[in-house]
């Protein structure tokens, strides 16, 4: 049976792992390559590295980070944050990423997804969607949650799939950094509308939150940062917790 995936997210700024609270107030939590090595050993299923500064000056330094992280991993590595063009994606993949996450650039020009899928295959293309609940529906925000697009998250996910995206990385802006649980309603709405896998993100605080997002949220994978960063036993303990509740995981 296909396992539900646990994905550790490393938010990287200036070569250091940081974790945002509601996308602001970043604070340091470690060296990316060291953390990646630890996660690989602990049995995480996948790693995502996000460039949270994504300035032009920072790109070259970030490529060095990707190289250092991928050197420690024999599991899938996704890179996101600031992927604006095919050249940005090529640089990330050449540096050792297996998949790239595209957010604002895909909203501005959805054909970017199609071009990337044609060149690298859909399995290498993740559409990252940041959504916020507004007036009873989920609205898509661009530019790290700062710019409203007026687009509906479910509709955009469906379009992104048809354009060539191979997975959806779905972040709840409302829950991100709050440790109050994933937005299961948002995740289920998107997951039942598309046939590609959906990675739920934003709000992980307890092991039970993962059980919820894999059952009522219908997530195929769940992403978290701080839950994994601060304890060396978190991955194994969480997998045991999920297995006991009938959620299939790799162990």
């Amino acid at each position: 049976m296909l396992s539900k995936r646990l994905i550790a997210c490393l938010d990287v700024r200036n070569g250091c792992v940081v974790k945002g609270v509601n996308f602001e107030e970043l604070r340091e939590a470690g060296d990316p390559a060291w953390l990646a090595k630890r996660y690989n050993r602990e049995g995480i299923d996948e790693v995502v590295v996000l460039d949270v500064t994504a300035t032009i000056e920072g790109r070259r330094a970030f490529e060095a980070t990707i190289r250092a992280v991928s050197g420690e991993l024999f599991i899938p590595l996704t890179v996101g944050g600031g992927i604006q063009t095919e050249a940005d994606a090529a640089a990330a993949l050449d540096a050792g990423a297996d998949k790239v996450g595209v957010n604002s650039a895909a909203l501005a020009d959805p054909s970017l997804l199609t071009r990337l899928a044609a060149r690298y295959g859909s399995q290498a293309v993740i559409v990252a969607i940041d959504a916020k609940r507004l007036d009873g529906r989920y609205q898509v925000f661009a530019r790290s949650g700062r710019a409203s697009t007026g687009r509906d998250a479910v509709e955009w996910a469906v379009e992104a799939e048809s354009r060539g995206a191979g997975e959806v990385l779905l972040t709840s802006i409302d829950r991100d950094g709050t440790r109050s649980g994933f937005d299961c309603a948002l995740t289920a709405a998107v997951s039942t509308a598309v046939s590609i896998p959906v990675i739920a993100s934003g709000g992980a605080g307890t092991f039970e939150h993962f059980t919820e997002v894999f059952t009522e949220g219908r997530a195929d994978a769940a992403l978290a940062a701080s839950v994994f960063h601060y304890s060396e036993h978190a991955v194994a303990d969480l997998k045991r917790h999920l297995l006991e509740r009938g959620v299939p995981v790799r162990c």
């Binding site: 991928s70 024999f74 899938p76 050792g96 690298y120 399995q123 191979g166």
Partner: protein, 200 residues
């Protein structure tokens, strides 16, 4: 030296890194004429079966000659599907034809998703050189929508909506539908097993 064939289907960085971890030297030939110098040949690949059209002609001829001479061949993901006669994904493109059968799309399902992405268990009921030391039930990383049929050459199967060939072995021809270079310790073990086969 193991020849890693770059025919434009995806990124080879991870495969190179996987073989380095398995202790093998890899080169990327630009001319099929040098394939006779390789101890093993790896055909990787992701994406659409149509991409394997780039292998038709001199590359296929060179690979066939090398394999006939005893060189070990490993197809990974799309590269394993290419070992078969062809695929419904690109009906006009011929596969290598080392294994009889056609690849087809995993059927739609109400709850399970296609593409099949993530870690799933190998069912490997009999021993094989490629999966030596890999326990039945070991989980490996898959990402694909088309799959190869189960045939006598299948040494491991996997189930996602349908049961399909997860690993094949036939003389010096080997294939894996999953990505050993992304399958943690079990994957590196499988790459090592292939490297051992290149010396036999």
């Amino acid at each position: 030296m193991i020849a890693l064939i770059d025919y434009g289907a995806g990124n080879l960085t991870s495969v190179r890194k996987g073989f380095a971890a398995a202790g093998a030297d890899v080169f990327t030939p630009t001319d099929p004429a040098v394939l006779h110098r390789a101890t093993g040949i790896v055909v990787p690949g992701v994406g659409n079966f149509a991409a394997t059209a780039a292998l038709e002609g001199p590359w296929t001829t060179g690979i066939r000659a090398a394999v006939t001479g005893g060189t070990a061949l490993l197809g990974i993901c799309l590269g394993m599907q290419w070992l078969f006669d062809g695929s419904d994904e690109a009906p006009g493109v011929d596969g290598f034809g080392a294994i009889a059968g056609r690849c087809s799309r995993l059927p739609p399902d109400k709850t399970l998703k296609v593409p099949h992405v993530g870690w799933n268990s190998l069912h490997a009921p009999r021993s094989s050189r490629l999966l030596d030391g890999v326990a039945d039930g070991t989980q490996v990383y898959f990402t694909h929508a088309y799959a190869a049929p189960v045939t006598p050459e299948s040494v491991a199967t996997c189930e996602h909506i349908a049961t399909f060939a997860a690993a094949v072995e036939c003389g010096q021809v080997f294939g894996v539908q999953f990505h050993p270079e992304k399958s943690a310790d079990a994957g590196i073990r499988i790459l090592r097993n292939f490297v051992a086969a290149t010396r036999s």
